[in-house]
Symmetry: C2
Subunit: 446 residues, 2 copies
């Protein structure tokens, strides 16, 4: 069977690539192949374990495909032949393609520590039956240890805690979320976790999983043993590249499928996007290890369009994050102060804090703190961090646009913003603008 | 007494100009003169009448000035002499200035209709004792008629309704908020008002105020009489320019104090900002009638900096609005479809709608609808409208940045955004990006 466009992979990247291909190729035949019967919304997975309550309530609807005239085949893929333009399905069927888009995703990294194979040690697989099993066990658990204090780890911990279990996080770095936020924001996030009774073991590594057939405790490098009837591993992912490798496609230095700015692989008729694809930083073009659903969909909108004749370019990964811990939203975009300095930037930062209402006696008034990081010489915005009110989850997207546009502190200090008593800080106190002004003041003073 | 910088006016523009002058002139002597003993937060005024409950809880704190080393003088100003660089205060004192910043604000327009001088006919003055009197009367009122269905009118109506009175709005145009939103958004806003029991008389003008000494009804041009023990007039403002005129400064075609892009008036040592200053559109530079606190503070950050040696430029008014009606946030930035067409643009629009959570079973899931308006030939963004969840109040500021940066639909369709289950739509469904994609599809199809 021939299709103009075949997409392999049915999560955020694959679906978005297929839908975008449909938009840019209204007359094209498009097929998406995925191995999962049902697809979990990736970012929603931690919320299955508390707020949402079931993997069945966290599914990416197939109507996104069927409603856009995309054929769906549920099957594994056993091989790709770039010469004959063929995809061999595990079902035995062969698909001929005009353009192929690989959106094969990533697999959780399982650390090689003794006992990791024991029962009730889970990683965060995007697999509905596996997640349903984990959910049942979480509900009966007394002690849960989450290994890894990144986004998935802290979100899992908070959700698992809602079931009443004792929950601990083991994080190798001095703070949770430290790859994303500067220390002062990490401390706020950790305070929010501790306030919920979650135990944090930071600057600690899990050296062994103890127990019989089933896990009974996690042994830390410091010697401490933390009791556990369930262990959840959230220490990162590695790109799924086996199919690409077997087809002879080039692999990048970050172990993803190598792509150019058009998301084209080393074979011009094959694109890759999402977690399986190599990432490059917006800041200088170095390889990046960031893997997010929002990056995946951005890349998919490029790959899907280009597979139908467009020439969209990927400017590189900015990295825009959000989470909510203890009711406080934490967001970040671009480089934080620490990372920017590590990359050799001379930086100047600005901060501003105000409630998200005016006057402060308006209901719902919640603090909102903004930190901006600028390159000192050019005054160009490199990154921003926001903590506080939930509206920060959209404000960070204004910051992302400012980064993408390489705006200067002076431009940001005179941004035209919409403000309203029931929605935002006052125009006098508006945090984004005042953080930019503060950075300018520091530049002038130095 | 000599000051390097004298600011006349103590509302959003004046305060922001003084604080910015302090930032850019750390060693300068700065004085702000205002006639009001206490200053109302301008955007908060409607909320005094329901949510906030007192004008005393809606004050701009003087610590903004005193904490920044700005001298405050409470006095009227009787005249300005540009030749001698002197300001004469009503108190008899004379201030000599290096640079003068006029932030004299605006005055509500009172329509010349019979009976408008009757008791209990109010306009929305930024005057604390006047507002306290109005509040007392609103609390005892049975029938309140708001003349003018713009932002101030609809917000006043909603807040007054919270006191239990029958509230009506009389709006000349076919819909409320029609100067800002396209019809479909106006209809949503009107539905939200009607759902609260507010009576709307659109396409109607108030032709007379009836009654004895006090108002008893508002007569409409159609002949209908609407009972009223209180009338609130919210039909717009006119810039306060008397001082500027008397000092011989040029007045612009929109009847504001004429300013260039540096916010300099026809006298190089005198700046003007906020409602008193002439406005020019970001779109082509034509005079604009938009007057908002957020525009005022943007201009004040330019005027205050430039009075201390900076050369910030005003790119012209984009116009970014937000309000909340019946719990639904309505925001807009730039040109709506109707206005863009009236200005001669060939436009293409895109819309996208999704809940602001993912999966949709996350608590707080609320619909959020985004409409974007692009110039068809260049694909450059001209404006956006957002209705639904309160997070739209910050999302509109991302739209504002995109307008300011003259971003194209293609750029916006591949924006890197932060998404999170508890904060936003999924990255697959993200409204801002999908609205841009939809506009591109229409362009391609046409």
């Amino acid at each position: 069977m021939y299709y103009d466009v075949v997409v392999i992979g049915g999560s955020a990247a694959g679906v978005t690539a297929a839908v975008t291909a449909r938009r840019f190729g209204p007359g094209k035949s498009i097929c998406l192949v995925r191995k999962e019967e049902k697809v979990s919304i990736p970012c929603g997975i931690p919320y299955i374990f508390g707020t949402v309550g079931s993997p069945e309530k966290n599914l990416l609807p197939d109507t996104l495909l069927t409603g856009n005239g995309v054929d769906l085949k549920v099957s594994g893929v056993s091989g790709i032949d770039p010469k004959t333009h063929e995809v061999a399905l595990s079902s035995g069927e062969r698909l001929e393609y005009g353009k192929l888009i690989l959106a094969t995703g990533s697999t959780p990294i399982v650390p090689r520590i003794p006992g990791v194979e024991k029962q009730n040690v889970f990683s965060v697989k995007k697999d509905v039956p596996y997640l349903a099993d984990l959910l049942e066990k979480v509900r009966g658990a007394r002690n849960i240890v989450v290994v890894g204090g990144g986004f998935i780890g802290v979100e899992f911990a908070e959700e698992c805690r809602k079931n009443g279990a004792e929950v601990s996080i083991v994080e190798m770095l001095p703070h949770c979320l430290m790859l994303t936020y500067d220390e002062e924001f990490c401390v706020m996030a950790e305070d929010a976790l501790r306030a919920q009774g979650i135990q944090l073991y930071t600057g600690e590594t899990a050296s062994a999983i103890l127990g019989g057939d089933s896990v009974e405790a996690v042994k830390l490098a410091s010697g401490r043993e933390v009791p556990a009837d369930i262990v959840v591993l959230g220490i990162g992912v590695s790109p799924n590249t086996d199919l690409a490798k077997d087809a002879g496609l080039a692999i990048g230095p970050g172990r993803g499928i190598q792509v150019d700015r058009y998301m084209q692989t080393s074979d011009d008729d094959i694109y890759a996007c999402g977690d399986c694809a190599e990432k490059y930083s917006f800041f200088g073009g170095k390889p990046s290890t960031l893997r997010l659903a929002s990056i995946a969909t951005m890349e998919a909108r490029i790959a899907g369009a280009n597979a139908c004749g467009a020439h969209r370019e990927n400017p590189g990964v900015i990295g825009v994050f959000s989470t909510v811990l203890g009711g406080t939203a934490f967001s970040a975009a671009g480089l934080n102060e620490k990372v920017a300095k590590e990359l050799g930037f001379s930086v100047v930062t600005g901060q501003a804090e105000a409630v998200n209402r005016h006057p402060g006696s308006m209901p719902g008034a919640t603090n909102l703190r903004v930190k901006l990081v600028f390159d000192k010489a050019s005054e160009i915005l490199l990154g921003g961090e926001i903590a506080g009110a939930l509206s920060g989850g959209e404000l960070i997207n204004a910051v992302s646009v400012c980064i993408y546009q390489r705006m200067t502190a002076s431009q940001m200090a005179t941004l035209q913003v919409g403000t309203h008593p029931a929605l935002t800080a006052s125009p006098v106190a508006y945090q984004l603008v005042n953080a930019a002004e503060q950075a300018l003041m520091k530049t002038r003073a130095s």
